[in-house]
Symmetry: C2
Subunit: 402 residues, 2 copies
């Protein structure tokens, strides 16, 4: 029998307790021994709840109990999660977490401490919820040089964009519906402005290239400015608008960004709709691969956390090699990132002027949008686009994968 402690009895924490209970037999077979939840840490009390008997309010009870070999950190946020995690690793306990802020910010350091203490810091649930993606990058794609990672990494924004596309509702209406259904937070900024996706692409990029990518360095744009007119134009161009976390290597420079893109219909991510997430990876020998599943939610996230617990049990006393050095990657300047842009300008801008400035473009017509001119540029650098667009009355511009 191996004893574990769960820090935080919120959505994910109660999911972890539920999954370990529900699939008790099969999990213990996979782990090779019985997993026993000895403590649950939470500031709150839960009278009548089965965890009442094992509930503690003081982390030191867990930290100082040598019987606890694995700590599940599912509190979220940096403080006190960071200190708790660090202390557990220093005490030789393994830590499994779903906390993307913690991993994005302190992943390299915590992995180093885990290695020094011959224990493990595991974080499969921090990106893509239940989708196996961290372990595949670390252990399965090791023969490849990864040249491209494109992820639909945030279920809330994907749900909003899917609803806008399918039902023609506007952003604000769909956001309100999403909040009512519990798919969006009351304060939706972290999702809607791309901060959540930014932390996740930072984690994936750090792992893919083995060195720290600071999420503050990743250019991030959200979806709050996407309108129904944009959606109509997307339909005309056989694309869908998706919020993508994107990392690409060009001429040995790593570019990373989060932004809404018009995604071409041939792309494997094209059909990742609703609250689902998908992560597309291109390897130089493997070619294209894609991982799809539920990117959030109590049980899918708990499934990934518990899979980490099983792995931690199997690797007691052995550090699972994970390459993520503290030494920081200097990302390429977003001004040098190349793509085709979709552009809407007021119809006071003549086509002659458009073609004078942008050369050959592809005009897009929509019966449903009037008083403007819309077109697709050739592939160009962001910096060049920004200069060229200055002489126009710009309504909107969206990057494309075309």
């Amino acid at each position: 029998m191996i004893n574990i402690a769960v820090l935080g009895y919120g959505t994910v924490g109660s999911g972890v307790v539920e999954v370990i209970e529900k699939n008790h037999d099969s999990i213990n077979i996979r782990a090779g021994q019985e997993i026993n939840i000895k403590y649950v840490l939470d500031l709150r009390d839960f009278p009548g709840d089965p965890v009442e008997k094992i509930l503690v309010h003081d982390y030191n009870v867990i930290l100082n109990d040598p019987e606890v070999k694995i700590v599940v950190e599912v509190m979220g946020g940096i403080n006190p999660a960071y200190q708790f995690t660090k202390d557990a690793l220093l005490a030789g306990k393994s830590v499994c977490t779903s906390n993307k802020e913690l991993v994005a910010k302190h992943g390299a350091e915590l992995l180093e401490i885990a290695k020094e203490h011959n224990t493990n810091f595991l974080f499969e649930a921090s990106v893509g919820g239940g989708i196996p993606i961290i372990r595949p990058i670390n252990q399965s794609l090791t023969a490849d040089k990864i040249t491209e990672i494109i992820g639909i990494l945030n279920g809330t924004t994907n749900y909003i964009l899917s609803k806008m596309t399918d039902e023609g509702e506007d952003f604000d209406t769909v956001l309100r519906q999403a909040q009512q259904k519990g798919y969006a937070e009351r304060n939706p900024e972290a999702d809607v402005e791309g901060h959540d996706a930014c932390r996740k692409i930072a984690i994936l990029t750090s792992l893919a290239y083995g060195r720290q990518v600071d999420y503050e360095d990743i250019y991030t744009e959200g979806i709050s400015k996407i309108t129904n007119a944009d959606i109509e134009y997307a339909k005309e161009t056989d694309t869908v608008i998706k919020l993508l976390g994107m990392t690409k290597v060009k001429d040995d420079v790593i570019y990373s960004m989060v932004a809404p893109f018009m995604l071409d219909k041939e792309h494997p991510l094209m059909n990742v709709n609703g609250v689902f997430n998908g992560i597309f990876i291109h390897g130089n020998v493997l070619g294209d691969t894609m991982f799809y599943g539920r990117g959030a939610g109590k049980l899918p996230t708990a499934s990934a956390v518990v899979a980490d617990v099983v792995d931690a049990v199997k690797h007691q006393g052995t550090n699972i090699m994970t390459i993520w050095e503290k030494d920081k990657i200097t990302l390429g300047d977003i001004k040098d990132f190349e793509c085709r842009f979709f552009v809407r300008v007021k119809d006071t801008n003549s086509k002659t002027h458009i073609e004078d400035v942008f050369g050959e473009v592809t005009y897009i017509n929509s019966d449903k949008v009037l008083g403007e001119v819309a077109f697709l540029t050739a592939s160009m650098k962001q910096g060049d686009f920004d200069k060229k667009i200055r002489s126009f009355d710009l309504i909107q511009r969206i990057r494309t994968t075309l």
Copy 2:
């Protein structure tokens, strides 16, 4: 430095040599040490080829060299691959293989020998080519009870069906084209009749449930009887015809089969086209997940083999726990497998008779097919369907996921 030997210098074997050469630096970082190919075994000579200097014809040279720690078996077939693999494991060497026949037939035994000798038998490339799927099932989906595995596991048949769907060509024409392009073997039976997919779903099912599934027990139907008329009807029903390897658990009974299905357009596998493979898995807590990528080809397959080599290097002297007992699973009788059937009968069969026998059905009309009646049944057991259909002039019947 760690020495390895490659058995077989065919498509995959030369791919393995190429990948280790091409991504030398990044692979060695991931492995934690330099990987050196000390021998390549082949019956043939390759004058002028760089491997000429390390080519051997006698397996005993490799087996008896204590410096060789890892053997890559990419010869295919059962003999002599089985004996070579067994001898290597008994000698304490790890074996990495892409050989699905070997794994499906002897996986349980070879894993047991590997465990006894504290070494590893790895076979990521045996299913889904470059797609990480074996390691995710073993190590990532450990918190779940898997209730469903549906795979597009054979690129040749998927290419043929995709071409028939997109271009309206008939089976024989597309098969010939596929043979010319090297996507199909001269003797296409193993692919076209579903035997290849059968071995792959047998491997996935054995791993998912931890016990041996004999592929001979899996009901297998190929695609050679699929016609353009079927494709037309699929379009009318908003489905696509795919050859699926399918394992489902119902009332604690495991059913497994390979057969063409009409796949509904909401299914995540719907857009897995051409030579690509996709594997959909439903876990009882994770929900739906899907893995997509190149299911065959020299470099994608080699990518998976080399990833296994990296894992074998990292786990020298430690057996990676893989649960696949020899004790055989008794699969459910295919007669009890339930689904909706798509049926085509001659128009000498009246609709009254159809409804008398099948109850309420959904008729499907196609302008392009005359002289027959086509319909979808309600969900029913295969055994019941077989009885009911006896009194009809049956043209075709295809299972559906509807």
